[in-house]
């Protein structure tokens, strides 16, 4: 097996094992009956599943909109709109995630859908911006020689522009996923569940074990996803 594959497998397994050991330990050794009730298998699984769904749905949606959107804005005829968009996106990214969640709560009310919508919108920004920036940063000479050699627009996009922009696009996806998982832990405040539920419950009934379980699992998830994206980039970009 190649060295990079061993690393991928080893880190992935290590993160999974850490998570499982932690969950097993807290379920077997609850400090009192309240902790035992909160940290039942069903409860932990439910929180984790909700978390995954929020992250999965919003991230898939963000990719589906961000990458094609970035490609579209990078076309010469939309270039100036793209530049304007880039500035708006920059300001949008400066707005804290809690503020975004809170503002959407006042518009759309409590619940899972609000959280997914707000997080989706927030995760589009880095992906869209980096796709646009990645493609527009490719030097004119490269595109011109591709055109001069008779490559069609579609072929230039798939064979030249996207591969060349890949490092910047994956960097955007990486930023988005860290922000996404982080913001998903806040979803509990607007009643959307997730691992944040455990942390917040733990804080309110002052049980450290519950806090650490929720915090630990969401941290491990974030680290794992971040690592995976990094690995994808490593395999994608060979030059």
């Amino acid at each position: 097996m190649k060295k990079e594959n061993i690393k991928l497998l080893a880190v992935t397994v290590a993160i999974f094992v850490t998570g499982l050991v932690m969950v097993y330990y807290v379920m077997e050794n609850p400090t009192d009956s309240m902790v035992e009730r909160m940290l039942s298998r069903e409860n932990i699984w439910r929180a984790f599943r909700e978390h995954l769904v929020i992250v999965g749905v919003s991230m898939a949606g963000a990719l589906a909109v961000g990458i094609p959107g970035g490609i579209l804005l990078s076309r010469p005829r939309f270039y100036y709109i793209g530049k304007v968009f880039e500035n708006i996106v920059n300001i949008g990214q400066t707005v804290p995630s809690l503020a975004i969640l809170a503002l959407f709560y006042t518009i759309l009310g409590l619940g899972f859908n609000t959280a997914v919508f707000a997080i989706w919108l927030y995760s589009i920004l880095p992906i869209l911006r980096n796709t646009f920036a990645g493609i527009t940063s490719i030097s004119d000479e490269v595109i011109e020689s591709a055109r001069g050699m008779g490559m069609t627009g579609r072929r230039i996009l798939t064979r030249i522009e996207l591969p060349l922009a890949a490092p910047i696009i994956t960097a955007g996806i990486r930023t988005a996923i860290v922000i996404n998982v982080g913001t998903a832990t806040l979803a509990t405040f607007i009643g959307a569940g997730g691992l944040g539920d455990l942390i917040v419950t733990g804080l309110s009934i002052r049980r450290n074990m519950i806090i650490i379980t929720g915090a630990g699992l969401s941290a491990l998830l974030a680290i794992l996803l971040d690592f995976w994206i990094g690995q994808i980039k490593l395999r994608l970009v060979k030059w």
Binding site: E144, A146, G148, M149, G150
Partner: protein, 369 residues
């Protein structure tokens, strides 16, 4: 082969057309250099041939067919294209870069591999070493060669070259120009070559088209351009020292006398032979050659003071030499660079020593012109 008729192109925001009613005919197998100051429309004209720009008026004919009626993509695939910054694809290997057009044309893997090897060999790049490297790992000169190889990949009858050698240092440029001319000798390509450097134009061109503000000023052979500039503009472009410019036109092999024996000794020759020959040599030095006749270095009076009996033991290194197909101007630059009044000439293909060329030889050529 290529006929340009009444070609006109306006760009929005400019008060005069970039190219104005330009007509030009380029024969098959000819290198036509478009030369002129920046903004003269040379690049725009070239880009209208492969329709990277669409003309406002006029027409380009390729073998009698209207370019505007051909499929744009097919048209471009049939025309090799090299630009100044080369535009190699940084994420692809050298092999993938060269294979771009063949792959677009749907060649099979076998054929592509064969062609890539052939071209790398032609460009003097070892396929074993360079095929799988990426452009970032290459020197400027090597990248230029790959750029040319990529344009040649599908063996297009026509090539467009926009200042292809501009991004490298003068010595490498001269070498690349010579190499390219040598390669060109073996194939039958029609080439449109754009440059702002009149010396390059004189050296590379069979015909030169001088452009100014989008209009054709003169279209003639390099000799005619030097002898009879059409107007003051062309005369200025060519410059006052026209006889020196002529050095770009003459190849070293046209003036050397193949006096290899007179100026060289074999590596195994003894001191006596060296001394005898040295007194005959008009440049005060002798070239030392091996059994194949290739240059090992040189010996002179100074070297004789060293320990050793044969020329092979006394030899001093030399760094400068020119190939027989270099121009006189190339050899002049090398002499100026090295500070010596002569430079050894070697065969461009086999590498054996052919003669030396001296500053006196060059001066004589200038005087004759």
């Amino acid at each position: 082969m290529i006929k340009i008729e009444n070609l006109t192109k306006h760009f929005p925001g400019l008060d005069r057309p970039a190219v104005n009613k330009l007509s030009l005919e380029i024969n098959e197998g000819e290198v036509c250099v478009l030369v002129g100051p920046s903004g003269c429309g040379k690049t725009t004209t070239m880009k209208m041939i492969n329709r990277l720009h669409e003309p406002d008026e006029g027409e380009v004919y390729l073998n009698g067919k209207r370019a505007s009626e051909m499929n744009q993509i097919d048209l471009r695939r049939g025309i090799g294209y090299v630009i100044q910054e080369i535009g190699l694809f940084p994420h692809m290997t050298i092999k993938e870069n060269i294979a771009t057009v063949p792959r677009e044309l749907g060649w099979d893997r076998e054929r592509i591999n064969k062609r890539v090897r052939e071209l790398l060999d032609l460009m003097g790049l070892d396929p074993e070493i360079y095929s799988d490297r990426r452009p970032a790992a290459l020197s400027g000169g090597q990248r230029q060669r790959v750029g040319v190889a990529r344009a040649l990949a599908a063996d297009p009858p026509v090539m467009l070259m926009d200042e292809p050698f501009a991004a490298v240092d003068p010595i490498t440029r001269a070498r690349l120009q010579n190499e390219f001319l040598r390669i060109l000798d073996k194939m039958d390509k029609t080439i449109i070559f754009v440059t702002h450097d009149i010396n390059e134009a004189i050296k590379m061109g069979d015909k030169i088209a001088v452009l100014r503000e989008g209009e054709l000023v003169q279209h003639s052979t390099p000799e005619e351009l030097l002898d009879a500039p059409a107007n003051e503009f062309v005369a200025q472009l060519v410059g006052r020292n026209r006889s020196i410019k002529r050095l770009h036109l003459i190849r070293v092999e046209d003036i050397i006398e193949e006096d290899a024996d007179k100026y060289s000794v074999a590596a195994e020759s003894g001191r006596k032979e060296i001394k005898d020959k040295l007194s005959e040599s008009k440049v005060g030095a002798l070239m030392v050659t091996d059994e194949q006749g290739c240059l090992l270095g040189r010996v002179d009076e100074q070297s004789l003071k060293k320990e050793g009996e044969t020329a092979g033991e006394l030899v001093d290194e030399i760094h400068d030499q020119v190939t027989a197909d270099s121009t006189l101007n190339d050899s002049l630059s090398v002499m100026l660079e090295s500070g010596e009044g002569y430079v050894p000439v070697v065969d461009e293909e086999k590498g054996f020593f052919r003669d030396i060329i001296t500053l006196q030889d060059l001066l004589q050529e200038v005087r004759q012109g």
